[in-house]
């Protein structure tokens, strides 16, 4: 019986020849990401009286939530993180200008197939879009990995999701994920690894794959993978940092999957997650006509260049509804730069949208807070109560295309009429 991607990576990172689900190993991550929470891990180091890092080159620090600082407290916390990075010679330090940690680290070539990556963020699962095992941990545990280089990990069972067919125009991998989360539930893949397979995967861009492995978190996964292929290699060519090599890890043909399911992409339609749970998904027809006050094009799920481009294609030559504020928070500086070169930036501005600086933005409760009774349509990955300000506000989640169509109409709208 063969092995899955998660089993192979966890075996390799714990110095074993093989591991099976349920086994607990001491694993040594290749990269430990900490974002705005970094100062908290620094405080843990002080508390336990540790000063030496296991390997400074394995640390990555990215200040992305609430960046730049909006209060003196934020500023002081960021100062602690910044000083920590400088004092300890952290080369992979990215300040408040860079963008969302996950996207910044992948763009900078710090994520390679087969890597084990942990970090202070649940959406570390996104690294699986490049074939790496990414998973979230708390800030105390991050400090522990900084000091000891390792953490205990349980080897998860793996689910195999096979994709066939082709997405219809106006339908995206975000819709696929909302469909899956709605069907399987918020813990449908609780503690499991998920591998996406099938002919249709090769047709999906790396950006679409990032959305998939990011959103997979919302069905409870520990990690999710798109097996590397020519598109992965192309994305990483010239990008991987000097310490990395392109060495994909694949599942064996006879790997043991706990569960297998398949989805025909051709049958999917635009989906929307309704308040206040991501699993509360509905096909677009069921929510069409719902008034929106704000449209947020942002987050690690869907504020990549392709996402902005999709929105711009729909908004080109059109104006957003006068009652809607369209807030665009690019995922990273690299994305914003590209958008400014290609005209996407201008198109989105001319349509009536506004840009904030790259980062987590409204998804982390920064620029774009909602008032009582307001409704936001967001391309993010969470619509939990109170996540964007008032607990009496409502958040719906959709693809960037649905968002753009809805911003024009002022109500949740089917994007397919624009294709």
């Amino acid at each position: 019986m063969g092995y899955t991607i998660a089993e192979k990576i966890l075996a390799a990172k714990s110095g074993k020849t093989s591991v099976r689900p349920g086994e607990i190993v001491d694993a040594y991550p290749d990269l430990v990401m900490s974002h705005t929470a970094t100062w908290r891990s620094v405080s843990v180091m002080q508390k336990v009286g540790a000063s030496k890092l296991y390997d400074p080159d394995r640390l990555a620090v990215v200040l992305d939530h609430i960046a730049p600082a909006k209060t003196e407290k934020n500023a002081t916390d960021q100062q602690v993180s910044r000083n920590f990075a400088r004092t300890n010679g952290i080369n992979k330090f990215y300040d408040v200008d860079a963008g969302i940690a996950h996207l910044v680290l992948m763009e900078a070539g710090h994520v390679a197939p087969g890597d084990l990556i942990v970090g202070t963020d649940s959406h570390c699962t996104i690294y699986g879009s490049l074939g790496a095992l990414g998973t979230g941990i708390g800030y105390t545990e991050v400090a522990s990995v900084w000091i000891t280089g390792k953490l205990w990990m349980k080897v998860p069972e793996t689910f195999k999701i096979s994709l066939s067919g082709k997405l219809a125009p106006g339908v995206y991998s975000k819709d696929l994920m909302l469909y899956l989360i709605g069907t399987l539930g918020a813990d449908g893949c609780g503690y499991k690894a998920v591998e996406f397979h099938g002919d249709a995967v090769t047709g999906l861009s790396v950006s679409e794959r990032m959305t998939m492995t990011n959103l997979a978190m919302e069905m409870g996964v520990k990690c999710a993978f798109v097996p590397p292929d020519a598109k992965t290699e192309e994305y990483l060519r010239g990008r991987l940092d000097e310490s990395k090599r392109y060495q994909p890890v694949y599942a064996d043909a006879d790997a043991a999957y706990e569960k297998e399911l398949s989805v025909d992409l051709g049958k999917l339609e635009p989906m929307v997650a309704c308040p206040h749970e991501v699993q509360n998904t509905k096909p677009i027809q069921a929510v069409e006509g719902t008034r929106i006050d704000q449209a947020f094009l942002g987050s690690c799920a869907n504020a990549k260049y392709e996402d902005l481009e999709v929105a711009a294609r729909i908004l080109k030559g059109r104006r957003i509804h006068p009652n809607v504020r369209l807030i665009i928070t690019p995922g990273s500086k690299e994305i914003l730069l590209e958008a400014s070169k290609t005209g996407v930036f201008q198109t989105l501005l001319e349509s009536g949208g506004m840009f904030t600086n790259p980062g987590c933005g409204a998804c982390a409760g920064d620029g774009g807070i909602m008032a009582d009774g307001e409704v936001c349509l967001s391309t993010a990955n969470r619509n939990f109560i109170g996540r964007m300000g008032s607990s009496k506000a409502e958040i719906y989640l959709s693809s960037p295309a649905t968002l753009a169509a809805s911003a024009i109409k002022g109500v949740i709208s089917d994007p397919r009429e624009f294709f």
């Binding site: 908290r40 939530h65 105390t140 545990e141 400090a143 520990k222 982390a364």
Partner: protein, 165 residues
């Protein structure tokens, strides 16, 4: 960690996410008291004050899902809650609770039988929860993980690893 945890139970449903437990805007704090003041406040009137009358939280499936914020476990401890018993936990909350020294137990059989205010007794050595005349078994944590919890969390565990005390 005490060998017996006893107290009145407050009951939640499924999928209580960590944004509900502690909203993102309070993650600028890491101390228990400060966080506890805002724990579960999005649930509306009476929260979190009413939770201070309970010592054990009982929940359905996937408790603590969503964000990896460790303060979810810290905030619950700040309320004076001594243990959480759920049908299942989201993995980030599970790890954070252990690392924060908050005892957690998976026991789906108990859930349907518990009413708000019921008195529970959790016997750690016997791996049993007592409710009225009935007892419910829960799986033991792996030894290495149990050690972290017994010392009161990962920071304390690290201290003993680093300094031997």
């Amino acid at each position: 960690m005490e060998q017996t945890i006893q107290g009145r139970a407050y009951k939640f449903g499924d999928n209580v996410n960590s944004d509900i437990i502690i909203p993102g805007r309070y993650l600028i704090y890491i101390d228990r008291e400060r966080l506890a003041q805002h724990a579960f406040e999005v649930l509306g009137e009476g929260f979190p004050a009413k939770l201070r009358e309970f010592q054990i939280l009982v929940a359905g499936r996937n408790f603590g899902c969503g964000s990896a914020r460790e303060q979810a476990a810290t905030a619950i401890q700040g309320l004076g809650i001594q243990a959480v018993v759920a049908c299942s936990f989201a993995r980030t909350f599970y790890r954070n609770a252990i690392n924060d020294g908050l005892p957690i137990f998976e026991c789906p059989e108990l859930y349907p039988d518990v009413q708000e205010g019921d008195s529970l007794r959790i016997d750690l050595a016997a791996s049993k929860i007592h409710l009225r005349e009935k007892e419910y078994a829960f799986p033991q944590l792996p030894d290495s993980v149990k050690k972290i919890l017994e010392l009161g969390g990962l920071a304390a565990y690290l201290k003993t690893q680093l300094h031997g005390t």
